[in-house]
Assembly symmetry: C2
Homo-oligomer: 285 residues x 2
Amino acid sequence: MTMDGYKGFLGLLVLALLFGFLSVIFTLIWVLHYREGLGWDGTALQFNWHLVLMVTGFVFIQGLAIIVYRLPWTWKCSKLLMKSIHAGLNAVAAILSIISLVAVFENRRARNLPNLYSLHSWVGLIAVILYVLQLVLGFCIFLLPWAPLSLRKIAMPIHVYSGLFLFGTVIATVLMGVTEKLLFLENNLYRSFPPEGIFANTLGLLILLFGALIFWIVTRPQWKRPTEPDSSILQSKGGAAEGMEVTIAVSLGSNMDKSDSELNNEVAARKRNFGLDEAGQRSTM
Amino acid sequence: MTMDGYKGFLGLLVLALLFGFLSVIFTLIWVLHYREGLGWDGTALQFNWHLVLMVTGFVFIQGLAIIVYRLPWTWKCSKLLMKSIHAGLNAVAAILSIISLVAVFENRRARNLPNLYSLHSWVGLIAVILYVLQLVLGFCIFLLPWAPLSLRKIAMPIHVYSGLFLFGTVIATVLMGVTEKLLFLENNLYRSFPPEGIFANTLGLLILLFGALIFWIVTRPQWKRPTEPDSSILQSKGGAAEGMEVTIAVSLGSNMDKSDSELNNEVAARKRNFGLDEAGQRSTM
């Protein structure tokens, strides 16, 4: 990454963190100032945890999990460590979103209200289920050291696509949730531009901007973590040239994903490494 | 593209067209069967055009415009023709979305209702404005033959990103719109699982699946239109080898977008072509 590229990355990262942080703060102000506050007693105070936990976990922490490989100062860390952080953040997001669902289901039961009638609830529940599935499959395929590399190669583009599509769907679901909450205001208050309406609309825009920045950061090829899983191993066996050949072959074929070339390098590194030190090889995954 | 890749592409394309088509049909059934029907008289009949035009133009036709370069049987057509079709479909989508906005504004004025208080309206209006801006900028930068290639090179990744982000935002806005419409049903009817609620929720899922398929199709590198703008010109001047060198250089640098390599080829083709036939060169853009 060039110095200019690094500055550009840092600027957008700070902006993304700012919008994400502001989204969480705005949600807290919404429930603490405009609404009833927080509690775990079946009342509206418990419902309000739904908002706080979804924006904190399912939007902000999920967004961080998506871009964690892009942080240049982590490129010296092992791939295994970064994968664990990626999986860990996603696990935290999944747990918070499940607690958030419990909050709303218990609130509905206490108030004897029906569940799962709205498009928000349909899409949101499907998103949580698919997110947990993505987490479990991601762990089995990319973190378990005995997962076949051929499987990783097939699964990688699907994993990346599903992750980004789910993140987008979660944001869409949150925007539907904000819409629902504001339309439930008494006497059609929403249409008379109340401060709460303007404030929560602004929260919606902040979440959308956070999503826009995460999508930009994660789709810039020049900000991708370099492909060599462990350059010292490659160099010690003259593997740098071999790695370049792989990249050229992929480029000329031009019908493979960029992530494939990374996996090809991983395959090459694993093969070379196997002869050297099996335990050491695993730490590069 | 291999035969297997072609079959996979066709299968997903047919599925995308099916979901897109069903979304339009479901919207028509919603307004004609469950609602008051269609008309242009300031009443709810005019408002209903908002739904039909947004789903038809801003979702379905925009989705088609996004994947038009990916259709393998168009790869023999000139880039200029495909750019014109891409721009034309987006222009139709923009016009339909603007008529759709007129329908809702006139309906609000006739009923003396306030405008632009909801998150749906904020995000939706911003999306229409940015979409028109994207269309105008896209025309000036990528279609006007005298636009500098250096500008095209800088603008291409931004154009692609903005287009996809706007498409996702439009889908999120439509889901908010469906939510609003159903929450406006009398006496909280939505929560008692009325047929209209289930039906419109299903419409929401269909639109989301259409979006999911468009995003998958457009982000598969193996289904990208081949990079040579006009292979006959390249071959006649021994340019195929030169084109390959450019691709290798880009790949080794690995801090440039894939679309850059396409533009590099376009630059090379234009340079070569300039000596041959200036008018002919323009037809390859």
